[in-house]
Subunit: 138 residues, 2 copies
DNA sequence: ACGATTTTGGTACTTTAGTATGAGTCTCTC
DNA sequence: GAGAGACTCATACTAAAGTACCAAAATCGT
């Protein structure tokens, strides 16, 4: 919101500056009025392009960003979350165990807890729900 | 490209129209020059916003669209693809069987074929690979 | 330091998932 | 109408996945 205020202030300043320019312009010559108007149009057209690009790019980002607050809310621990990520990467319990340097039993415990916390019956469903809840990157 | 040409033609027409307005305006009164310039600025600013929104929205779409050509290239049949979609929705073989009105054996066959065609060892990996290949919506 | 989580691990068991193999039906094409 | 693919289904098996229950370390907040 602060940036929006700044941008609009800058716009007003630019507008006032152009007023001054235009006054000097049509005093000296008559043809330059068209040029001033054209340049105003082009400048504000470009400003419009730029601002929109900025805002739309910001709208894009939240789609892929992980909602870590929700992970806490669901009571999912750090280790459990790590396991969840590996599940979504398509790894088996044994593979996850190797990757995280623990036994397969441990992973099974984590997975069981995850299924309860995500209200899922299978790991595939857990992944689907996690992505819906935006706690996993798409 | 055709739309771009149309938009820029419209811009030129609008510019010419504003020239005419501005000429009449500063003949009658001096204050209205500022108003004309301001309105030009606002109009072109909004045009800039609009055009950019259009183009950026088009860029967004291809990210979520499914690449059906690649499904064919991998030799995945229609029925297999249906099963793949249900897997990514987190359903079990039994649930998929009910949903598609076939036996669980049939689903197992489809899944086995899918795993070979997607070069995956598990259904979770199949989903992950399918999304990487953009044959499944994210 | 103490209680509360978290993380780890085990055993024993049930349920899914996945493989291998074979085979019948159906549709489309040449 | 013969063959190719796709779809269906079954049996028998192996391999994962998941549940239930318990319990010892490790970590962390106050």
């Amino acid at each position: 919101m602060k940036k929006t205020i700044f941008v609009f202030s800058a716009l007003i300043v630019a507008l006032l500056a152009l007023f001054q320019l235009s006054k000097y312009a049509y005093i000296s010559r008559d043809v330059s009025v068209e040029i001033v108007i054209a340049s105003i149009a082009i400048v504000f057209f470009l400003i419009g392009l730029y601002i929109n690009k900025r805002t739309l790019q910001k709208e894009k980002l939240p789609d892929t960003i992980v909602n870590l607050k929700r992970v806490e809310e669901l009571g999912i621990s750090n280790r459990e979350y790590e396991v969840l990520v590996q599940i979504s990467n398509g790894l088996s319990n044994k593979e996850i165990a190797k990757k995280l340097f623990v036994s397969e039993s441990t992973i099974k415990t984590h997975v069981s807890n995850l299924l309860v916390k995500l209200d899922a019956k299978r790991r595939t469903q857990a992944v689907q729900k996690a992505k819906q809840l935006q706690i996993l990157a798409i």
